[in-house]
Symmetry: C2
Amino acid sequence: MKQSMTFIPTLREVPADADIKSHQLLLRAGYMRQNASGIYSYLPLASIVLKKIEQIVREEMNRAGSAELLMPALQQSELWQESGRWYTYGPELMRMKDRHSREFALGATHEEVITSLVRDEVKSYKRLPLNLYQIQSKFRDEKRPRFGLLRGREFIMKDAYSFHASFESLDEVYEKMFQAYSNVFSRCGLNYRAVIADSGAMGGKDTHEFMVLSDVGEDTIAYSDTSSYAANVEMAPVITQYEKSSEEQKELVKTETPDQRTIDEVAQYLNVEKEKLIKSLVFKVDEKFVMVLARGDHEINDIKIKNLYGASVVELATPEETKQAAGVLPGFVGPVGADSKIDIIADHAVQSVVNGVCGAGEENYHYTGVNLDRDATVSQYADLRFIEEGDASPDGEGTIQFAKGIEVGHVFKLGTRYSEAMNATFLDENGRAQPMIMGCYGIGVSRTLAAIVEQYNDDKGIVWPAAVAPFQVHLITANAKQDAQSSLGEKLYAELLEAGFEVLYDDRIERAGVKFADSDLIGIPVRIVVGKQAEDGIVEVKERKTGEGMDVSLTDLHETISRLLQK
Amino acid sequence: MKQSMTFIPTLREVPADADIKSHQLLLRAGYMRQNASGIYSYLPLASIVLKKIEQIVREEMNRAGSAELLMPALQQSELWQESGRWYTYGPELMRMKDRHSREFALGATHEEVITSLVRDEVKSYKRLPLNLYQIQSKFRDEKRPRFGLLRGREFIMKDAYSFHASFESLDEVYEKMFQAYSNVFSRCGLNYRAVIADSGAMGGKDTHEFMVLSDVGEDTIAYSDTSSYAANVEMAPVITQYEKSSEEQKELVKTETPDQRTIDEVAQYLNVEKEKLIKSLVFKVDEKFVMVLARGDHEINDIKIKNLYGASVVELATPEETKQAAGVLPGFVGPVGADSKIDIIADHAVQSVVNGVCGAGEENYHYTGVNLDRDATVSQYADLRFIEEGDASPDGEGTIQFAKGIEVGHVFKLGTRYSEAMNATFLDENGRAQPMIMGCYGIGVSRTLAAIVEQYNDDKGIVWPAAVAPFQVHLITANAKQDAQSSLGEKLYAELLEAGFEVLYDDRIERAGVKFADSDLIGIPVRIVVGKQAEDGIVEVKERKTGEGMDVSLTDLHETISRLLQK
């Protein structure tokens, strides 16, 4: 493509409102422009990259036995009422009315539409399993759109849905999708991890997120330093075994701790290690109050409380609620002498605390010499804390480390959540109606583009991996006003296209410095500069990744390019 | 693709609400399902055909120098307010509010978005011309969605926009787009005409519609039986020269014509030919009343009135308005003795009427012996009637015939309509700010799919032209339970894929009759049936188009398929 004929509006300055690399570089290198908060136009270069990512996704999905279709963005509210999500999805679901005042949702996801489609057509186990996908713009009215393409309101997604007659069949397809996703992200050149994830509000069981490792990621991944184990930090179980010290039990003493509320304050005031403190917090578990204990140096993971109780909602109680439930404001709550009506649970680590410290249930007082088996009633010890760096990996191999990740894919066993709500049944081999068993599988296509830029850039601009680069070769005439250069440029452009290379040809009449700076920003893997040696049949070939340049004669040109592209 | 793994829900019955062939067949052959009025899901077969059409469009657009981009569906109302269309577009523009109550339009078209995008980035004539396109779902809330994909509310469109520093440059690109469109529709196998079209509400000048000839088309095309001339019937000028008969002028006589209002009634009652009658109708031209005369056998074309006056709105006056303006209800209106305040214009043909008949401006009376140059004041004779079959072609070659057409494409010189309203200017060579000159170019991608089906079907189903068929070969095992057949089927499937053919493989355990009927419906060009002669290495090859079948040995199979696909 001739650069004079396309639209690559580069910027020299870093846009003020762009705070991460991919956002800055995609704007600066002329790949996109913002239309409204969280809404972007993909300019020609981004359009090509998106098409390449989509093509990789298509190839891997097709290979895995999924068939492409295309469902509408406009979705009748009636379907969302059937699933119940019309009421629970919240303001992220964009809604509108047509000219007849019928309500529609703008597709944020397509479980309802596909379930209704398959429900209406598939009646027998003989037609299952079925695995269907689409690539499409999705709409979610994020409260705080941010980070450019990482959290937008209109974005491109590949979503797939599978339907099964048995859980074994779901497991098989889940495995295939997992593999397909691994292939997709590997082919995109990404450094990623498949992590065990929270099933969130969807109520499924097995679920993995594909996380691109990046400091700008909004999720924390706990991974093993030696095995392939990786999980969302919220989901990783703690398998540490704690040993009780042999220290002799001391007497329980109530001590004045005026205005000392936090773990740090109390530890310092009483001059004890944080490990000796018993953190006591009140949570509201659905409608019931629960006192949760953890060691002072640990953080309580409310998802684990939720799972322990099988609850729908777990929230930290407000100060007022805490006072109501535990008789004192947060900071002085403790299990010793607590109202027997409140359930007390504790993290495993707490069981090993000898002569600990906890709130006395009375303003400005703590107990020291606390030994829970003697001084309080804990109904249950369980794994209730967040895993930490240095903990043993839950798979028993290696030690946990943390990384930040950008979620680019998600595979998910839905089960019968939608088929039961929407009455999507099939007749099994015995002629009995059964709800279809479902899986769903998403890839953020536009987010993947941004994630690649996060991992592939340097201080001059983007550095595309060859598989998803908008072009393979950036051909530049240093001085397009010079006949020798411009005629060799035109000739090479035609020849390289003819040879099957994807070429962006900078034929613009601009200063060479401008062209080179633009080229660095744009990030095409191989640059060919037609300069002063044009008349001698010599051009400069430069690899974007290494910055290494070399003079190459025209006879060696194709071979040189091919070699650099395969590196 | 294996048929057992995809989703092709065929129907034996013609769906009740589908009234045209493409709508019926796309539903029956399992290509699509309706989600809501005018809103469809494209199932896997349609998804493949759409991708093929899109690929043809991309290739031709790229070849013509247009660069692809992708703009959002969510468009800020502020942009539409700038162009003024927020107020004039009407209920077809779907509107919604985000969580912060900001108003958005759902992209019905993208003139506003692209004009704002280019306005913000392009400042100099050096960066022009620019030609950008996208392929995307569009939203228009049709009052009466109908005819399946021909008039839906969410549909796929290719829209392109060009920006120029001069009208000459616009003319050049318009010509290229015209050629690209011709290539696209030819490659899709369509019988179409490029017709001169009304510029509609957009205010442009040169405009052509690409019309696929079809009886279900909603537009009438007037075309020459010998030249390439074709125009929307509303736009075709009449070039007929009328000769006045040498008949002697008779006396003007007022004649009672009780309750005789229509041309037919009056002609019969007075026993005169319709050509002798002078049809007199009152129109409201913007806010002014005009009496328009035409020969009794001709129809008045209000677009020609509009163009003559350069008016915004032309409507037939209501009976009340007619009485107010012409002193009598419709049926007895006439130019003789009319109020001098009302402007009277007449079609050229009226000038040749000698001793005609017209309303007397008085209930239940007509004049006979009317000779306008003697009896009335006509301010202007002009071309005011619709062209008719049998008229001379406006290009002077051949005779006009009519056909119905489906509009699948539209190329349009917008001029400065949007750039002026939205202040999209560039600096010309003299450093002066000028509004950019624009063109826009649309192709209805999903509509094109339906138009192909309208032209390619028979009583058994769809008959795809090879270039856009979802697959090239439909491989069918007549009895998948027979080992010889199913193993040869599997083997051929692998071999044909290996050889590069696109194959749909019906591996389902179904009766042969069901498979053949489905195959006819689906319409893949070449069918291969693995049947009883499987063990002898012989299969049946059948051409969908002709229905001709032949036994082919495996050694000749690839060659036979290639030959049939090239026919």
